[in-house]
């Protein structure tokens, strides 16, 4: 079952899922970058008694990426919120320890945002740019048309 709620009803929806729908198992909490619409936070919970799933979603507008912490409802949400915080830049109000979970110290940016530039796709020469009958050294010669790697946005800086 999927339920879309307003950010203000987030905690109430989680409490309702836990208490009235008996969803005692907190599976995961993550987010989806919806570009101009903002960031959608998703939580999946499950009832081991009735075996019902519940997916609770809320859309945060780009200017207000703040949500009250779900650790008050499900304690297991602690690490999931830390990860969502570092990966998407969503702030969880009242979280006991909102520090990066997976990223190294001093890492800048939110890697799972769609505007995050993947260093490995910018620093590396695309091997497919070579045409049949060419070698890598031929790429340094000027030519009319460049083969661009599929799926890499054109506004990412190319070497």
């Amino acid at each position: 079952m999927t339920q879309d709620v307003a950010p203000g009803e987030w905690i109430a929806a989680l409490i309702a899922a836990r208490d009235t729908q008996q969803c005692d198992f907190f599976d995961f909490l993550t987010a989806v970058d919806e570009l101009d619409e903002g960031i959608r936070v998703v939580a999946h919970v499950y009832s081991t008694k009735t075996r019902q799933h519940a997916l609770i979603r809320t859309l945060l507008p780009p200017g207000a990426l703040t949500l009250p912490t779900a650790t008050t409802v499900y304690r297991g949400a602690n690490w999931h919120e830390r990860e969502t915080h570092e990966m998407f830049g969503v702030h969880f109000e009242g979280h006991p320890n909102l520090v990066p979970l997976l990223l190294p110290d001093g890492f800048e940016g939110n890697p799972l945002r769609k505007d995050f530039v993947l260093a490995s796709r910018v620093a590396k020469q695309w091997p497919g740019e070579v045409d049949p009958g060419q070698s890598m050294t031929d790429l340094k010669k000027p030519k009319r048309r460049r083969n661009l790697p599929p799926g890499v946005p054109e506004n990412w800086a190319q070497p």
């Binding site: 590396k124 695309w126 091997p127 497919g128 070579v130 045409d131 049949p132 009958g133 060419q134 070698s135 890598m136 083969n147 790697p149 599929p150």
Partner: protein, 152 residues
């Protein structure tokens, strides 16, 4: 006391069953023929068309080639040019074993091999060049029998 008996019952039940332990590396594992161990290259079939390198989601296939002009086969015929493969390398430290390159190849130059014992001490050694990729071809199992399908 109850827990002790239960534990002994589990032990007895397990004792009667056959062991599933595989004695690798003393005994080689019996892998299914379609195991994805390593990718072999049949260089004779490669036309350096670049399709695999362009399809590869991990950007781990490197191909370099040059054009060679063949003289006309018959008197007054046209000269033919063809691509000669200079380098074909797969970086297995990046490869995610998706098999897209093998499916993309229209000339059947790439094959799965179940060979998996090619760990290295240095990451650079995982880039297998043409000669090594050709060696892997010896470990590629023969294609399965054609399924005759439902008769009639």
């Amino acid at each position: 006391m109850k827990g002790l008996l239960k534990g002994l019952a589990v032990t007895l039940r397990t004792m009667t069953r056959r062991s599933v332990t595989r004695q690798y590396p003393e005994v080689q594992p019996d892998l299914p023929p379609r195991s994805r161990g390593v990718i072999g290259l049949l260089a004779e079939n490669c036309t350096s068309c670049m399709l695999c390198a362009r399809e590869c989601p991990d950007w781990c296939i490197y191909i370099e080639s040059h054009k060679e002009t063949l003289p006309a086969a018959v008197e007054g015929g046209r000269e033919r040019s063809r691509n000669v493969l200079d380098r074909f390398a797969i970086d297995f430290s990046l490869c995610m074993y998706c098999g897209i390159c093998i499916e993309a190849c229209p000339f059947d130059a790439l094959f799965w091999s179940p060979e998996f014992e090619y760990a290295e001490h240095r990451i650079g050694s995982l880039t297998h060049e043409m000669d090594l990729l050709g060696e892997w071809m010896k470990t590629v199992p023969p294609p399965p029998e054609i399924d005759p399908g439902k008769p009639g």
